[in-house]
Subunit: 401 residues, 2 copies
């Protein structure tokens, strides 16, 4: 129990160093309220353990005051390697980061099929990780942790996948399976949650303790950071924003229920109605058809506009519901901007603002953050970074005891 304070100090300081990038001890002391003496003790431990390193201040900063100069501390990149994997419909996207978060390599490869068995998927991931490590002359065994983002319903704590569109089986211990096959600790979570982790660790949510991330891919996802921590729900199936109901007996969703948000805004929902728009080729590939539809809407085709406008209105309504429930500081809309421009439009955000409970206080900030597949992979890597840091701290905790 006495060790608790030291654990607390270690966690606080490592987090603060990571957040700051580079920061001298005296500022750490000021920021955390931990005395300078203790900061010295704990950071000395980090230094000797190789988690952190000293760097000379590379400042052309004007505050070059007199007195002994401050010495910046930073996370030591070489301390660990982590990998982030994003599993999407047709491909795997991977990034390799050092412990500081620097990107060392990337790898993208097509999946042999969009839906595979757990074993097949794990095998493909293993090969991709091998190639990824190879890009910088390392081996999979050199990696300290791998974060994996997958669409579907995931219980992150035990790496259990209730269901995923990428898997042919339900209720799979994918985390354990991967850890076993790769010989490296693997951490798996819903992809939208990982985007939220990424925004929290090195994105727009860095300075916020309560914010939401809404992702749009083929489905609509949600990640919630509440009280400074990712909230995952109690059965691993929370944050199913895409399946909140926005219409009684509404449009049919691919989940089999009616009136889901997703059934109005997802690509397949748009295409369902697009056949009524003149000049649409029903045989083109889906992405192309969505693009055609959006073009037609922009060009003023009334039918196309009606489809796209309704998607926007419904999306605004869903966002307003989130605000009315959470009253967050910030909402981050994350996705590939191109394809979902119509959902990120000022008109949609305006409609949302008009649909929330009105108080004499500014509504939450809404920002759009463009995320390609590699960015999603970075989100997964951020999660791995989190977990690996935790493991490193635990090792210190035990070593001391």
């Amino acid at each position: 129990m006495a060790v608790m304070q030291r654990e607390y100090g270690r966690r606080t300081l490592l987090r603060e160093i990571r957040k700051a990038g580079r920061i001298p001890r005296i500022e750490l002391s000021g920021l955390t309220g931990i005395s300078r003496a203790t900061v010295t003790t704990i950071t000395a431990e980090f230094l000797s353990d190789g988690l952190v390193e000293e760097v000379s201040r590379d400042e052309g900063e004007p505050d070059s005051r007199r007195g002994r100069p401050r010495v910046d501390l930073k996370i030591r990149g070489a301390a660990h390697l982590v990998v982030g994997v994003k599993i999407s419909h047709h491909k795997l996207s991977l990034v390799l980061l050092d412990f500081e978060g620097e990107q060392l390599a990337t790898e993208e490869c097509d999946l042999s099929r969009p839906v595979s068995s757990p074993e097949e998927l794990a095998a493909e991931i293993r090969q991709a990780v091998s190639r990824l490590a190879g890009h910088i002359g390392r081996e999979p065994g050199d990696i300290s942790g791998i974060g994996i983002g997958i669409a579907g319903i995931v219980e992150a704590n035990d790496g259990f996948v209730h269901w995923s569109p990428s898997l042919s089986a339900r209720n799979v211990e994918l985390g354990g399976l991967l850890t076993g096959m790769l010989g490296v600790p693997c951490f798996i979570d819903n992809d939208a949650n990982l985007v939220a982790v990424a925004e929290h660790t090195f994105g727009l949510g860095r300075d916020h303790s309560d914010f939401l991330v809404v992702t749009i891919e083929s489905g609509v996802g949600l990640g919630m950071v509440i009280g400074g921590a990712l909230y995952r729900g109690t059965r691993g199936c929370g944050a199913e924003f895409g399946h909140t109901k926005v219409q009684l007996n509404g449009a049919l969703c691919r989940c089999g229920q009616r009136g889901c948000l997703e059934a109005y805004v997802a690509d397949y929902a748009l295409l369902r109605e697009a056949t009524l728009v003149s000049g649409q080729d029903a045989h083109a590939d889906p992405a192309k058809r969505v693009e055609n539809l959006l073009d037609a809407a922009r060009a003023g085709d009334a039918t196309a506009r009606s489809i796209v406008d309704r998607a926007g209105q419904i999306f605004a309504m869903g966002l307003a519901n989130l605000v009315n429930i959470f009253d967050p500081e910030l909402i981050i809309l994350a996705g590939e901007q191109m394809q979902f421009d119509h959902l990120y439009s000022d008109a949609v955000i305006d409609t949302m603002r008009k649909s929330i409970v009105q108080v004499d206080k500014a509504p939450p900030e809404v920002v759009v953050h463009k995320w390609g597949d590699l960015m999603w992979a970075r989100g997964a890597a951020a999660y791995a970074l989190d977990k690996v840091s935790e493991m490193a701290l635990e090792r210190l905790d035990e070593h001391a005891a």
Copy 2:
């Protein structure tokens, strides 16, 4: 900083004692992981400060083993008095509790008008508190804290009321005003939040760290306990479940927007359509008219049924949305059962269960907890109890330092 561990120990132990009711030191040690030695030290402090008392074990329990008998500790009721006030449309309901949570007196009185100025309301509360204390021969000055629940949008941290149906003014520092006028610390919050606090401290949520409370009065309210703490949002206007949108361009709500949940399930929403039901007297008082409508529905009147059924379906949809977002362990439906039976029905809860994302795991438990106005007041008192405990602990923390 060294004092931090002691603060932690004190908070943990006092909370655990309150939660358990009566508990011997050795169990406290087991439950919290704090060593028996430290438990002795801290509880000795509580005893000498009068926060806690020893009671001989009143057990006809069969486990009367040999050895030195355990001595139970419990919160000392006489340590503090707290009051809970529920402000509703037409009346004030108050309860007086001792520090243990025992109800010592109650008081109900009509408000002179349903909407009053902050000063008038404060004056009426002061008088009611005076009478309440008088019931047990005490004075308002003997009270350590007063919790107040009010409908509307409240920033609990600074006792600031953005808006309330009971107040003629917006943006009122009602907490400060009351504290000043009564000479006793007053803590104010949205009424649904206080029900959640009450369920967490001595209700059905005692053993849960993540649950939701949905309240139904004239409006629909929500209280969220997430990660063991009440989540209030960042601007004081979260948990506005009643104004989440369930229909695009739907029914008009009294908030001025369209498609709010409340606009389908609240009493005024039912009455709006009730004029079409045969045999309805448009001039009876609202409560009576709602009752007539529900009677008609039960009797099989098709129009009445249609109104009531839709309310149920919409309510189920709203609940499903909460589950899809939060994935809570438990949902507590709190309200006066009589009037809202149709929303608490098995049919509604079944519909909800069918509208959530399906996983191979049991859906969250849904329980109905009947809450009269005095119960709401108990919720407010529970909040005061929380706050007064916190103040007592802070006093200990400082005294030690």
